[in-house]
Symmetry: C4
Subunit: 491 residues, 4 copies
């Protein structure tokens, strides 16, 4: 890649068609003609910068290194010749792309006035980037699973005990033998930079300062090494989408192991793409124009949104057999993230993974997937031995310190929270730290009031699940739908 080669503005401007498309990123000129069709975010979003400078739009979503990882060196066409920049070139491309002006920091509530995770969401909904809030808050189709994740937690009550000495309470625990101040994960999410330029880096600093664990996403906005540099020596976890191109996953896993990642959370619930309509709707409302010709670019008929942009490389053909391959390239512990029933939990035991994360992906993939907290009950009913065999985590709908304790009482070793951390990140690292403080304060208050001093005392008898028990399946089969023999034979 010869960076000394200069390219003039007038030359770049010639390559402005779908069949011959150059763009400039951070002063480097790239031929993205082939890449247009592969771009997870769709071709239109790139094509509007055909023959132009795309730096600003690129940086909003991607880390600096992504372009190098995505394009082969022969796509590099040279360094932009600054001497050739015209007045027209420098003009903002405001024609086609409205600044997301809903962000108005001046009106945002002060961090002091944020009392709980709902306040963080309200602040993000009212004062943050509309695109970010749409992407973070959305879920699949009717959003039933997303909303029911929370509703089911609220239908579980405590059974407090009194007259216990709780003058001092202790929220510390361990996750995979890593000591933590709270048994809490920052869940892996993409596009954290949408809400704050620090993105996952900001969350990493907060994880370290508060003593909780961050699971880095395959889709993180910064490369793994850059994030880890924010909290040197601190333990991190890594979430993996298995790539259809196994070599890319091999490279990722080896990098992770080399950088000191402590465990791999293999996502198993992304074999299909969730239809997230509020996200898609955002895209369809946005008309994209070619910045040179000024003509509108036809959008994909089914809408778009960041969701559709995100997963084209994921291997939808992944099966239990692929665990062997993963083990062949890394010695890190493997946790399956996205188990939604006792049958697959049993298979996870058979395959001797190191843990499972009960998760419906925050309701973002399959709507009407089981509410997260009920999955712990399903395991108790159908395979209680799993709690002795491996660590079980859960995410989905957790809002309060009390919610976390309900899950711990029902056997979870730790709980993951995703959206709330993204909303908190609007205030940067300090926001995420404030969220952890709130959750810790809430947990301590609840621990005292249910009468336990530390987390070794959590126990199912401290919660009343009578309002939801009837919703938990008792076995693998439907209770009375006996499928006819002729059809069963096909299975």
């Amino acid at each position: 890649m010869d960076e000394s080669k200069l390219v003039s503005v007038s030359e770049i401007q010639k390559h402005n068609t779908p069949n011959d498309c150059w763009i400039v990123i951070r002063g480097q000129t790239w031929d993205v003609t082939r890449f247009l069709q592969e771009h997870p975010g769709g071709s239109a979003i790139i094509y509007q910068y055909a023959g132009r400078d795309a730096t600003e739009a690129y940086s909003e979503i991607h880390a600096a290194s992504v372009v190098h990882e995505s394009l082969s060196p022969d796509c590099f066409k040279g360094t932009l010749d600054q001497a050739t920049i015209t007045e027209e070139w420098g003009k903002p491309t405001g024609l086609h792309r409205e600044k997301d002006t809903t962000t108005t920091d001046t009106e945002r509530p002060s961090l002091d006035s944020i009392l709980n995770s709902y306040d963080f969401e309200d602040a993000a909904a009212s004062f943050g980037s509309k695109k970010a809030y749409s992407f973070y808050s959305t879920a699949a189709t009717d959003c039933w699973t997303r909303d029911t994740n929370e509703a089911m937690l609220k239908r579980i009550w405590f059974r407090p005990r009194v007259m216990k000495d709780v003058a001092r309470v202790d929220t510390t625990s361990t996750v995979l033998n890593i000591p933590v101040n709270l048994p809490l994960f920052i869940c892996p999410t993409g596009f954290a930079r949408l809400i704050h330029p620090d993105g996952e880096k900001g969350l990493a600093r907060a994880a370290q300062s508060t003593g909780i664990l961050e699971i880095l996403s395959t889709a993180a906005g910064y490369p793994m090494n850059e994030i880890l540099q924010e909290a040197p020596g601190y333990p991190f976890l890594f979430q993996l989408y298995l790539n259809k191109q196994r070599e890319k996953s091999r490279e990722t896993l080896q990098t992770a192991e080399r950088l000191g990642i402590k465990a791999i959370f293999l996502t198993v619930d992304a074999a299909g793409r969730g239809k997230r309509e509020s996200d898609e709707r955002l895209k369809t409302d946005e008309v994209i124009y070619n910045v040179v010709t000024g003509e509108p670019i036809k959008a994909d008929k089914r809408g778009g949104g960041l969701t559709r942009a995100a997963g084209s490389y994921i291997d939808q053909g992944m099966t239990w057999r692929d665990l062997a391959w993963i083990r062949s390239v890394t010695r890190l512990p493997i946790i399956l993230k996205g188990i939604t029933g006792a049958e697959d939990a049993k298979l996870a035991m058979q395959h001797q993974v190191d843990g499972i994360m009960l998760s419906n992906h925050g309701g973002r993939n399959l709507d009407y997937a089981p509410p997260a907290i009920l999955l712990l009950l399903e395991l108790h009913k159908n395979c209680p031995e799993i709690f002795d065999r491996m660590e079980v985590y859960v995410d989905g709908g957790f809002r309060r310190g009390g919610d976390i304790l309900k899950a711990l009482c029902l056997g979870a070793k730790a709980v993951g929270i995703g959206r709330s951390f993204l909303y908190a990140l609007q205030y940067g690292t300090e926001g995420a730290e404030h969220l952890v403080e709130i959750l810790k304060d809430e947990m301590e208050s609840v621990m005292k009031l249910i009468g336990i001093k530390n987390l070794s005392e959590v126990h199912p008898s401290l919660v009343n699940t009578a309002d939801v028990d009837h919703l938990v399946p008792s076995g693998a089969e439907h209770p009375y739908a006996k499928w006819s023999p002729s059809k069963l034979s096909k299975l």
Copy 2:
């Protein structure tokens, strides 16, 4: 019928009373005096055109051929003598009949922005014909069954399986051995032309292009042969209301068989007329005037609406014995449409029909009839053998591809959708095709996320019905209401 006979405008205008009433349709003059009392839509709607041209109002509801089928040749009075047309004759009869001006195509959302079936309904509610939307969306009395059809589907959850190879999923299936791209029916409905002039023809083209099946209604706005011409050689199904005049049904069935119809869906749940109030309300708000005298015509006290217009010929005395007669005039497979319980499903088995369609008529006939999806559970509980004996279909409340999969998992061979196709038809054939694409896309997404590759893998264990199981009857009798012997003896 001597079409060469000319009738002058001045002659026609003389016949403008209830006892002597002529109207002109497409240049043909008809004496409708006797027919006034038989008209399913009531006499008032015709009488307002007494002595006038009724072409416009006629075409909005009826196919061209209907007048010939309904009136005997001796009612024909001759061809309108164009030479005698006066200025007054040509004037729009705007006095008595407001154009349904709520249709404002310019504001209608573009098809690209329609992401799901709810969007189609919103578009129909906000931008389409008020009369059409009222007729399509209405249901009987409190609309409980209509709304609960949907609500019960939402109370059924998936039990997904992960780590299955679902890189390619296949939604194809068969219905009565006819291969289909999706196991989906366009349900038979009347008055499709209210929302788009193409009416059932438009739906027929969409059925062919997307590979699904359309069930043509007895009350279709176009004659069967005209509809079939839109998709030559493509398989169609036909819905039959048994006529009190058996000869008319014989003729219809023979025509159907001759034209290549593949099966007869005999409607069994229309022995009474549903009281559809929003439809009736529309009518009562509309004052009808005699176009000649300008005086208001007294409307039926109980309101009217299209519903009451539709069913006067249906035989409310139909019993199981009539199946023999139907079999005597056609060799086509017979499916009973409108079964709402296990007892009648068992009788259907005894009478060896070829299939049943579980249906409460979209809640349009009997309010508080059982929610459609629960009927599949009732069969599993009470007569599971039926799923081996015949194909079982279901309609009522289906909105999403995921809804369809829930029904398939519970044993349905195919699912019917009615209202959504009518709403989509506002955009013509392309709208209906877009709806099928959406449903297919949703189905594929759900199939991947629950871990099945094709529809032979659907199974009750893939759904959790725990939230509704207690609502399903366990037998023919009420569980604890033991009727006293003295009264039972009367039954």
Copy 3:
């Protein structure tokens, strides 16, 4: 009572204090000083007319004969001397009493546009007398029982049967061997004249013309004989509040028998007064002035309203033993109105009454009394033999013909409706007739659609009560609250 004695206006005006209070009704002057304290409606409402003409206010609530029945002859002070009437006397007493001007007949919806009982209520709420609507619609405290009466009916579904010959359906039945067109009662209610001057007379004419039964209230606005004259020879029923002064009840019962009343409905659920707050609130918002002095009259601290006005004479000490006394003064059949549980139903059987009416008084007396329709289920669960031993009726929350059929299927011989008839009475007799027509039309439609030809075919298997079955008590005792022996001994 010497009606020839004349009293001058100036004389009357002198008696305008609580200790010396005369009023004029229909030209007759009465000393009501003693009666002030006994007046069920409170003294203030009378006292505001001290020394004045009270005819208008009197007639709005009471029948002409009431004054004679309530006051002893020595209270009569003479006939108003018309010659002495001054200009001031004739002036409307608008100062103290606002005309209920919410009635605006011009805006009221036409009877043709009333499609169901809800429409009648809407019309009464929006266009009728505010006082009437408050009194009719109110119920005790939280109105839970009133609202749940309706809600529980909606939670019962039909289990329709198809392919039955229902070309002709028949809604006739019998009540106590009296043939009726519909098994429907007009429930006894007070103050019917508030909404229409015809009051119970109007309802009587409608009962006769439609072939249903009216139960005349002890608190009717017209004397029994006047009402019966409206429908000579037609059968009527009579509701009795047992009077603390047994002689008054004896007189009433003997009059009833003499006038041809067919049965006595003895109210057993009025041992306490319901606290009907919207009714009481109305009163407290109304300041009452002495019409002579113009000074405000202090109202009862706990509010008032028509409810408190109504029941002071009812014997709250009535027990099962009083049935013997009633039987000693009348040979008419006795029905107990207000049974709300199986235990009292069993006692009713032991006491060999002729029938019971399951009723919670429309939720107007005891809030959180059991929803009416569930009482039928409680009888089936605990004493099914009662349906063979006597006729069982039910009222409370019935709005639709379908609701009536649900009750009939569950064993009721007939159903009572109260509020809806009062709302319909705003349109006079024609309104009440229209309501019956609507209910009959709805019943016929439902009968056809559930597959029955006449009411001998109703049966519990035609309804699904699975959504409410768990709410029905299984016995006399609380299922698991075992009261300690020491306390039980007190019972």
Copy 4:
């Protein structure tokens, strides 16, 4: 304490920093520098009066005697020298502290128009002090327990009996052998003076005049002896928060016994502080300024509110063993207030206390604690013998006389009401008396309508709890969550 020593205004004004802070209360000058950090309400609220007169703010919350009890005599700096008062000193300190101007007595509804406890709350919400309403109405986090306390009461129905002689009903009972007109407590609450200057004194007068019992709070706004003087000779109860400094509790208990208090209600559910957000939010919205410098004072990051101000002295290490100590310093009966389950109720029996008060602290401490009324059912299911062994009381969500009867039927000996009395206190003693009259009137009405004459007749069979029975735990363990042996061993 030499009160003759005079201090000049100019001297006082010099002590206006956090490290040297004097304030004047009722003409007495105090050095509060050390106390600043101990003040339960936080230092900021005091510091804003550094070098100034704090009388007005002090009196709003505290009794006159509190300053003497809280500060040691050496903190007294002398009597304010009235001669040195400057114009500036006398100025209202309106700069820093807005008068709570939402109180607008002129608009407040008259007591006559208050028909129930909801009316009292509405009046407090709309017309009273915003701070008072926020503190009284708030509850922990999601307010689920607060709201569900009421909702569960509404889900319990009556099973009325008819034909009983209820002409006279009697609401009297006893509590710990003390005769009462109603079995009703005024619950102990803090800060009653916020809504009315009479505070607990006003409630004490109402308790005496209506014949119910008041439980005086440790946090009462007046000293115990001052309150008791309002109703000499009348029995009172006392609520105790066990102090970390046992000597203070010893002194309090001995004072209580000396003053004639009848029993001690030991609060056992305050081992942690409830997170009451609407209360905290109020504080965070209020900027506090130093009244001298005019600069804002930084508030606690987590918000504040009266809740956090209230409990720093409570011993969160209290255990069952501490009962022995309490018994060693007082012979008064001991009732445990705040039991929320059968297991702790059994322990209370083992420890032979004199009674328990089932309470979740009005939902103010632990959100998702069990709804109060269900706790009675839990005792019936798990330890019914307790009702023979001691008196059981309950509070939480009681609004109506009917609610009280539901609890009595389920075994409660008396019921506590807190918030409603505070709301009623807005009208002073008369308001509280009016509330008792309302509740008594409601109770009498319900007693008649369910067929009981006096409270010895209450019984579980008079209520139907079928709608909530499934929510009541059957034992100490979770019904199917069998914790694995390895983890159980830790417990």
